[in-house]
């Protein structure tokens, strides 16, 4: 017996793939090249880069097109692609203080160090649906005169430093410099280091993280209560690696990231009521929702991660590929396992029909 028995399955798969390709790639609409997608669906591209853990806009755009706009499926495509790539180098540590801000707001302070820079946001734009009949009139893409920015405006001091100066924050800085936990090489399980939780959140599915954050506020086992956002910023950071021959750090590119600091009021019995605690969030691209949720959950995890379910929830339930993969596997055939379950139901019924089971009077029947 050869391979022929498998033909039916293969034909069905090929036909399904063909249906997708025909509808997606040959739809009667202009082709959407990568630059079209990165330019017009920037936030979707950024989200895929973050959830995939691979910063490359072109790859993300291609994935979004292939996934017909499903960001989770696109993140899966990028991560599976990443599995085929060798790890060329490990970057030098990124110093977020080097971030050149494109946007930066400090809700907790009227006049912080540096600017309150609104930047590119629709925060204050009325959510009114625009339904233009066609493309808008042509307009030059470059702003009239790029404003000159001082160093403070480009790289403002962070709000946390101000709080430290005022001695209003609990200091969690460590003097040792441990290697960060690499979630792409080791499975993160509780109890885990803070870096494992931060990395898991940075790569988490945005909706899952926001839902967990909201659960921590409104859910029955919530841990976050007094939420103040210290600072949120979006900007560019340089990426450096050591040159394989000279050993010197060399700048090989830059990437955009969103950073957030969340302030938590401490009120636990063994906590310093006279100070605040600050949580940290950082993720690829422009994704403020994720960075803010992450910062809040970082503090909550430090305070309650081990005494409640939060650490396990953070580490094990927020990855989109994990949760969606497990959910979707329910579509696979399960008739063997189901048969085994049906058999036990039938066995119980048969036993019941054979006569009522004498509830053993405390083991008396076995004498």
């Amino acid at each position: 017996m050869g391979y022929s028995g498998a033909r039916g399955g293969l034909e069905a798969i090929l036909a399904a793939e063909d249906l997708v390709r025909r509808a997606r790639d040959h739809a009667p609409a202009p082709w959407a090249p990568n630059e079209q997608i990165t330019a017009r669906f920037r936030l979707a591209v950024d989200r895929v880069m973050g959830e995939a853990g691979l910063y490359h806009a072109d790859t993300s755009a291609a994935a979004l097109r292939q996934a017909e706009g499903d960001p989770l499926e696109a993140a899966h495509l990028v991560r599976a692609h990443r599995s085929t790539l060798p790890r060329l180098a490990v970057s030098e540590p990124i110093d977020p203080d080097e971030m050149v801000v494109l946007r930066r707001i400090v809700p907790a302070f009227r006049e912080p160090d540096g600017p309150q820079l609104l930047g590119r946001t629709t925060d204050y734009t009325g959510r009114l649906l625009e339904q233009p009949a066609g493309p808008p009139p042509r307009r030059s893409h470059t702003p009239a005169t790029p404003p000159e920015r001082t160093e403070t405006q480009r790289r403002p001091g962070r709000f946390l430093d101000l709080l430290r100066k005022l001695d209003l924050v609990v200091d969690h800085r460590r003097v040792d410099d441990p290697e960060p936990f690499d979630i792409t090489r080791k499975p993160a399980r509780p109890p885990a280091e803070r870096s494992a939780a931060l990395a898991s959140m940075a790569r988490a599915e945005t909706g899952a993280l926001v839902a967990l954050w909201y659960r921590s506020i409104l859910g029955p086992d919530g841990d976050i209560h007094e939420v103040t956002l210290g600072e949120v910023r979006h900007g560019r950071l340089p990426l450096r690696v050591r040159h394989p021959h000279t050993g010197n750090p060399v700048r090989v590119g830059e990437f955009r990231a969103t950073e957030a600091e969340a302030i938590e009021d401490l009120d636990g019995a063994d906590e310093d009521r006279s100070r605040f605690d600050v949580g940290y969030g950082l993720c690829f691209g422009h994704n403020e929702r994720k960075a803010i949720a992450m910062a809040n959950l970082d503090v909550a995890n430090r305070r309650f991660g081990r005494t409640g379910p939060l650490e396990q929830l953070l580490l094990l339930t927020t990855d989109g590929l994990d949760s969606a993969g497990f959910l979707e596997h329910l579509k696979l055939p399960h008739y063997v396992t189901f048969r085994s379950m049906v058999e036990r139901k039938q066995a119980m019924r048969a036993a019941a029909e054979a006569g009522p089971r004498v509830a053993e009077p405390a083991g008396q029947e076995c004498r």
Binding site: G8, S83, R87
Partner: protein
């Protein structure tokens, strides 16, 4: 000009292959697989990569297969026993396309069989590798949701929660109703989830000739059953493990009735789930006789065998009562025990205690909850520790039990190493083990000592199975005997403890504490929180139990009436120190220390 990135790429070019997994990842998977083979049944964590199939669609099995496969291998892939299903087809084409190996449906030709939910009916032989896709690798998840706790249970081989779930199943349903993914004990050490293969396939993993590798991609675990490994489905010695069976069913295609059958159509017909085996039976190309001999027909459900008692009772495991060495008359001995909450340890002690009127250290602000507490208890003797709330008596008990880390001192049990070993130097797992059969505790709150969702019998079964009892009927008999002794009506034996009153719960807790006849019993405010009449009943019971047993008891209470009723000697504690000690009768009638006088006066009021 060459950029830094270009240079890095050239450095690594030798490792670049067209594939779905880079070479570094494959090496890592092989290392994890080797570890798994060396420690059968242990779940080895690995850096699971993202595959072109979703997690849950065989990403773990695929990684294991790609990690161990070579170009001259022949691979067979089945899903539900079927080579032709879409998922099997898809995985096979992916493996073949990226490795260049040959594909087959014939189990006899395959060197690697990747499977979801089945073990082939054909006998797997030496040299063949069975790769099982695992959706949920943790067999304990059904009884414990915390992954930290599950890890502890595996590390300590503490599977009593699993045994209790089987016990409860039998009590409620008269049979074990677990379906697929039946838990097995591998090599007598680790409990393992048999993916979800049917129970029919479980015996094929025992002493097999082939190597079984289990890959869980989503949960990032690899585990293995090497050839010739002992694999036993978890069941009590006197309750048979049952495989699936549909009476009278035969395959509509090949007529076999000694294979795993699945429903064919909706009219009650059945067919082989292993399509390749079925085809070969029809072609006359299968050794059906050898297969029949191998089939688990001796494990077909037999209602008459389910809860039938064995003719003779099996020996009850338990350690012999320790013989006290010459010149040593204590079962439990505590020397110079101290516990400081906060900074300073011994430096925090000066300036605290009854003479200073405080337990808070003037030097460091730490709370000196107990200091320089020493006592011993002989078999058959009961020692009382009395004091107000905050006097340190519960802290002392906590340190003896192991719930608290003592700052200084030593705790010895005659049952352990003839009293030579200081318990405080033992790791957590060793101390937890002592609580199974050497030292039992009755907590003030029954919820601390019982699982309220579990039946009264099941709670006692927890302690007995932890001590190694494996006979369902022996456990039932022992639980009934104990519940009868603590005056819990046997009609309530199979009711969850949460439906019990406070006094009844406390009686169940006492029965559980005595289940393994431990030489030392620690009672922490055993009647506090009960109504006066109920408390009196429990007190009567305890007095009787202590009198009829050769047990060394420590009773902690704020109530002199409890201490007087139960104990022979007493320590009085105030602000972390022992302020008076003596025979209970004498203390009660002639207290010296003013604090003791106050306590006695309070009891007489």
């Amino acid at each position: 000009m060459t950029s830094t990135l270009d240079t890095l790429l050239t450095e690594r070019e030798k490792d670049l292959h067209l594939g779905i997994l880079d070479e570094g990842a494959k090496r890592e998977i092989r290392r994890a697989t080797l570890t798994a083979v060396c420690v059968p049944g242990y779940q080895v964590p690995f850096g699971s990569r993202e595959m072109p199939v979703a997690r849950g669609w065989g990403s773990g099995g695929l990684q294991v297969t790609l990690g161990v496969i070579g170009a001259d291998d022949t691979v067979k892939v089945i899903d539900q026993g079927d080579d032709a299903g879409v998922n099997a087809t898809n995985l096979r084409r992916m493996i073949a396309a990226t490795t260049g190996c040959a594909g087959t449906a014939d189990t006899r030709e395959a060197t690697i069989v990747q499977t979801r939910h089945r073990v082939p009916e054909e006998r797997l032989r030496e040299g063949q590798v069975l790769v099982l896709q695992v959706p949920v690798p943790e067999p304990l998840r059904g009884v414990e949701k915390s992954v930290v706790e599950c890890a502890r249970m595996h590390a300590e081989g503490d599977y009593s929660a699993m045994w209790v779930s089987l016990y409860e199943d039998l009590v409620r349903n008269g049979m074990i109703t677990r379906t697929t993914g039946y838990p097995v004990l591998v090599g007598g050490r680790y409990v393992l989830a048999t993916t979800p293969i049917p129970r029919w396939d479980v015996p094929r993993l025992h002493e097999s000739e082939h190597l079984s590798l289990f890959g869980a991609g989503r949960e990032k675990r690899i585990y293995a059953i090497p050839p010739h490994t002992d694999v036993r489905p978890l069941t009590f010695d006197d309750v048979p493990f049952e495989v699936e069976h549909a009476p009278g069913a035969r395959c509509v295609l090949c007529g076999s009735d000694d294979v795993f059958l699945v429903e064919a159509g909706t009219t009650g017909a059945y067919a082989c789930s292993d399509t390749e085996w079925c085809a070969r039976v029809r072609e006359g190309d299968a050794d059906t006789e050898a297969h029949h001999a191998r089939a688990p027909l001796h494990l077909l459900p037999d209602p008459s065998a389910r809860l039938r008692a064995p003719a003779t009772t099996t020996a009850r495991p338990g350690r012999p009562r320790p013989v006290l060495p010459e010149g040593q008359d204590w079962a439990l001995r505590v020397d110079g025990l101290g516990k400081v909450f906060g900074p300073g340890a011994a430096d925090a002690v000066p300036g605290t205690g009854p003479e200073h009127g405080t337990a808070i250290s003037p030097a460091t602000g730490a709370i000196v909850a107990a200091w320089d507490v020493s006592f011993d208890v002989a078999p058959g003797e009961a020692l009382g520790v009395i004091g107000e709330s905050g006097s340190g008596k519960s802290t002392v008990l906590g340190c003896v039990i192991g719930d608290e880390q003592a700052t200084t001192g030593a705790v010895r049990l005659a049952a352990l190493d003839e009293g030579r070993t200081d318990l405080l130097t033992l790791p957590g797992d060793a101390r937890r083990r002592l609580r199974v059969d050497s030292m039992a505790v009755v907590h003030q709150n029954p919820a601390a000592g019982l699982d309220l969702r579990v039946t009264a019998g099941g709670n006692i079964a927890e302690r007995l199975t932890a001590a190694g009892w494996r006979s369902y009927h022996d456990i039932r008999r022992r639980a009934a005997e104990l519940l009868d002794r603590v005056e819990v009506p046997l009609t309530r034996m199979d009711d969850p403890v949460r439906t019990f009153s406070g006094g009844m719960r406390q009686r169940v807790q006492i029965a559980k504490a005595l289940a393994t006849e431990p030489p030392v019993l620690l009672l922490d405010e055993p009647t506090t929180g009960l109504d006066a009449s109920v408390a009196a009943g429990v007190l009567d019971l305890l007095r009787g139990l202590l009198a009829e047993r050769d047990i060394a008891a420590v009773v902690v209470s704020h109530d002199f009436a409890v201490i007087e009723a139960l104990t022979d000697r007493t320590l009085v504690m105030q602000l972390g120190r022992v302020v008076e000690r003596g025979l209970t009768d004498q203390l009660f009638h002639d207290p010296h220390h003013p604090y003791t006088q106050r306590l006695v006066a309070a009891a007489r009021r």
